[in-house]
């Protein structure tokens, strides 16, 4: 097996046994990037020099017996997460040359765990999109079929993991941006509970939804990364001071005693029949593993989640993106001495079409005369959706749905119709509305294209999700399949 194909836990064992060095592993991953990147385009920035420096440091730490489960293992950071001294662009012209003066909390934590950063991954501009086609630089291609999108917005992170251009990656998830690309690329993507992982240093999109999480080759790796990144951070006043368990203790293969529910509203009209079939098969497998399954749970407000989300998230975005005024950092229109014109043109030329669309939508929903009908109404619907999840998760340990209603779609297929693109998040965005955790795991294929199973849990019950996901993974072979490239 080539070194770049290893999981975190496999690489750790080899590093610990001194069978390989971090330098060798890093070299192998950078070589894999050199070969695959021409086709995949997963990276905005490749940080080769930094990677070798960090690998060298990691090898010294390993020799000195100071080793964490992540020491010396290459990872990729989505380009919406600030890395000190390394360009952080959000795949936008606006931040094309932005060099953060500080690290995000998750980057500080991973540095303390001995990460080797090989690069910053491509994404939909400011994390707004479901295909990575909204990157201002270039689209990313799905390693399973280069004519298909890898999903989004963390499409670069997901494609890099799937193509062996990194051992693991971080992404961010506002309406499905970790889980949907994980599902599209046959890897594991976890969106933690809102407040579990610090958002300090995550460039804000919709502040009451955004959460950082891992994209990994298997469930064990997901638990290992969560051990490193979860926890309270006083610099993010919405992170919560709850103790962080050792997530690897949740990795148990038996599901007896667990109650699972399948909400019927997630099997929407028009969904791909093979996705529905794969998910029903996956649920059957969990039943075989000992879980008690109720196949007909109802969350009646589900159809209203999409409009509520696409009012609230753009509203928050319109406020968050007001900061890009061309004064403190980022692109700045200079051919005028008029302040208002400079501000307007900075945004006009700095932002791409989807970002502008959402700023417009959000500003409209918050404007005088429309606030009650749109924003306030959506927030009330948010309450209903949260309450329904809360009631259902009182009766069940987890809920099971598809991650996306279809397998990966073709590049260009949904670009012209924003609503069609928004529908791609229909199964994932209700979870962000409620602020609860969910994980996507590989659950089958349709014509050679991956299908993801989404497991949804109670607040701060990531262990339960990892437990179910691990049991499913042990009983199936889907996660072992590698893309043809």
């Amino acid at each position: 097996m080539d070194l770049w194909q290893l999981t975190i836990h496999e690489a750790h064992e080899l590093l610990k046994g001194k069978e390989i060095s971090s330098l060798e592993l890093t070299q192998a991953v950078l070589q894999s990037i050199g070969q695959a990147e021409e086709k995949i385009h997963a990276f905005v920035t490749i940080t080769e020099d930094l990677a070798f420096k960090q690998a060298d440091r990691a090898d010294k730490q390993i020799r000195n017996g100071q080793m964490t489960p992540l020491t010396g293992i290459p990872g990729v950071i989505k380009d919406v997460i600030c890395t000190k001294g390394i360009r952080t662009t959000c795949s936008s012209r606006m931040l094309e040359n932005f060099i953060p003066p500080y690290d995000a909390d998750v980057v500080e934590r991973l540095n303390a765990y001995g990460i080797v950063i090989v690069g910053k991954s491509n994404m939909d501009e400011f994390a707004m999109g479901s295909s990575t086609e909204n990157s201002a630089f270039f689209p990313t291609y799905n390693p399973w079929d280069l004519t298909c999108v890898p999903g989004g917005s963390s499409g670069g992170s997901a494609a890099a993991v799937a193509a062996g251009e990194t051992i693991y990656a971080l992404g961010s998830d506002t309406g499905g941006s970790i889980r949907q690309p994980a599902g599209f690329c046959n890897i594991v993507g976890l969106k933690p509970t809102y407040g579990r992982v610090s958002r300090y240093g995550l460039v804000a999109f919709a502040s009451s939804f955004d959460q950082i999480g891992p994209l990994t080759k298997d469930v064990t790796d997901s638990a290992l990364v969560m051990n490193a990144i979860a926890g309270y951070d006083p610099r993010d006043s919405t992170s919560l001071p709850y103790p962080v368990p050792d997530y690897t203790r949740a990795l148990i293969g038996d599901l007896h005693g667990l109650r699972l529910g399948v909400p019927r509203e997630y099997f929407i009209p028009g969904m791909h029949p093979e996705v529905e079939q794969a998910i029903r098969c996956a649920v059957g497998k969990l039943e075989q593993l000992g879980a008690k399954v109720d196949w007909d749970v109802s969350l009646p407000s589900t159809p209203y989640a999409l409009p509520a989300y696409y009012i609230i998230a753009p509203s928050e975005a319109s406020a968050n993106l007001a900061r890009y005024d061309g004064v403190k950092y980022g692109f700045s229109y200079q051919d005028t001495s008029n302040m208002w014109e400079a501000m307007g043109k900075t945004k006009q030329f700095g932002f791409g079409p989807e970002v502008k669309r959402r700023i417009m939508l959000g500003t409209y929903a918050l404007s005088a005369g429309y606030y009650d009908a749109y924003y306030l109404k959506a927030q009330k619907v948010r309450t209903l959706i949260r309450e329904e999840f809360s009631q259902a998760l009182g009766r069940f340990d987890a809920l099971l749905t598809p991650t996306s209603p279809s397998p990966p779609f073709k590049l260009g297929e949904k670009v012209a119709d924003p609503l069609q693109m928004y529908l791609s998040d229909v199964c994932t965005l209700p979870i962000n509305i409620a602020g609860i955790p969910a994980i996507s795991v590989p659950a089958g294929f349709s014509d050679g294209l991956p299908i993801g199973l989404q497991i949804i849990g109670k607040p701060f019950a990531e262990e339960v999700l990892l437990h179910i996901a691990f049991a499913y993974e042990q009983a199936t072979e889907w996660h072992k399949r590698r893309p043809p490239i």
Binding site: N97, F98, I99, P101, G195, S208, F209, P234, S237, T238, S301, P303, Y304, P307, Y310, I311, S318, A322, D325, G326, Y329, G330, S332, Q334, T336, S337, N338, M339, W340, E341, M343, G344, K345, K347, Q348, K356, R357, I359, M360, L361, T363, Y364, S367, A373, Y374, K377, A378, Q379, K380, V381, R382, T383, L384, R386, P418, L419, I433, A434, G435, I436
Partner: protein, 95 residues
């Protein structure tokens, strides 16, 4: 419901977002179409339902008022498009 061009221009001014005429026309179509589809929300009975602004019940997070180092001025200003005398430089605000 269809937005007028004037409404689109008004929203763009509120957002301080410059738009070309072609963009005004495009957003008039797209936003009208999106908002029309979102009208289903009005069907939901939200009588006596209070709004949720945030998924966690945190209010007024306080800390001790202790001095701590800030980011170095030079590093913060390094990303500034225009600077002078250790400050961000802006266009004249008053005419």
């Amino acid at each position: 419901m269809k937005l007028t061009r004037e409404e689109v221009r008004h929203i763009a001014i509120l957002a301080r977002l410059g738009l070309s005429e072609a963009e005004v026309e495009r957003f008039q179509e797209e936003l009208s179409h999106i908002l029309e589809n979102f009208e289903v929300l009005q069907q939901v009975d939200t009588t006596d339902v209070s709004p949720t602004a945030h998924p966690i019940p945190t209010h007024n997070v306080l800390r001790e008022d202790e001095a701590a180092p800030s980011l170095p001025k030079a590093e913060v200003l390094a990303n500034a498009p225009r600077q002078e005398a250790g400050c961000f430089k802006v266009h004249a605000v008053l005419e």
